[in-house]
Amino acid sequence: MMPDPHAAPAPAEGAGFPPQASAVHADDGGDRLRACQEELAALQKEQALVSYGIAHDLRAPLRAIDGFSAMLEANSGDVLDAAGLDYLARIRAAASRMASLIDGLQALSRASHDQIDLTSVDASLLAEWALAELRDAEPGRAVEVDVQPGIRVRADERQLKLLFDQLLHNAWKFSAGADAVRITVSAERRDDRVVIHVRDQGSGFDPRHAARAFEPFQRVHGPDEGGGHGLGLAIARRIATRLGGSIGVDAVAGEGCTFHVELPAGGAHRT
């Protein structure tokens, strides 16, 4: 039986979640189940608070590192030699990488803890939106995108947008070597499920690494090949799972890859 996303723990920020009354029986097993659920809720709340603290408290020192490096360069750049300036540039680049890593950890935490509100969602629109943001960030890039219109799934709109952000950013950055970014988003209906395919013609990867690609910090690409914080696909999988779906990938080294996201189908005309 497919997992019911309603039954999945979906605590509001810091609020924990109530034990599922239907699953609790008036016997010892029920009491133990209730105790476990309460413990799980407390742990999830603590984890959300720790993630919040990490994101907040690590950013402040990074701002100081980047800010004072920039001021040093601006005010004392003329007394530094080429090596000194290179060191400053490295410090700033490292701060920027760490900021992106913190953003990734925060997105992963949000994918795990944010409340899920399931409605019939136009996935095509969300994919177009994510692509528009990528275009805005890199307007000089030649891009060919083809998004099949009217893909409807039952999902949480914000979470599904976050999922597309990860997959399309992935497709985008691993097309870096190619003269143009070519990305297609299409879908097919399988009974009461929809399978969405996100295909790129970028660098792809060795299919032997496919299972590892969805683990946090398991990078298939190095930093010189466009590799990022190593959390994007972990975020995508976390969201797909919480929405009652699944995610997989077919990859060919040098020819690109296709991600498959399976989700419950949405109603045809509901908004």
Binding site: H56, D57, R59, L62, D66, G67, S96, A99
Partner: protein
């Protein structure tokens, strides 16, 4: 442009210095009055405690408020500012590292005029502080009195 001070409520000395630099580079001449926690901010605004001599003549044109501070945090400061008639319409811009939806919601519910997430990148940080200064000190027409 009036020369009333900007009240910066910030407990992190690095962020204080970076904000000073950003205002200087943006050529915003209003004096920057810095306090390191919420209760000092209220002492300054309400002219009490160590700030008793201060008589409201130099009421700030703008408050830049950090959220997470020891003892009294930014949310409580905001609440106290909005509860007092003399500061009810004082522009308060929350400038913090958090962009958690519940922090944003809470601040607007308590009457913040604006909510800015402090960028890590210095050039973006400079841009943000400059725009805040230009908008609230130059472009925005405050309520008189």
């Amino acid at each position: 442009m009036s020369n009333r001070p900007i009240l910066l409520v910030e407990d992190n000395p690095d962020d204080v210095e970076l904000t000073r630099i950003a205002f200087a580079e943006a050529k915003i001449a209003n004096p920057l009055h810095v306090v390191g926690n919420g209760s000092e901010a209220l002492d300054y605004l309400f002219g009490r405690g160590a700030q008793a001599a201060h008589n409201g003549e130099d009421a700030p044109a703008l408050v830049l408020l950090d959220l997470n501070m020891p003892r009294m945090d930014g949310r409580e400061v905001l609440q106290a500012i909005r509860a007092e008639a003399s500061t009810r319409s004082l522009p308060v811009v929350v400038m913090t590292t958090s962009a958690e939806p519940f922090d944003v919601e809470a601040c607007y519910a308590l009457g913040a005029n604006s909510y800015i997430r402090k960028p890590v990148d210095f050039d973006q940080f400079m841009g943000a502080v400059k725009q805040v200064g230009m908008y609230w000190l130059v472009l925005n027409h405050p309520r008189s009195g």
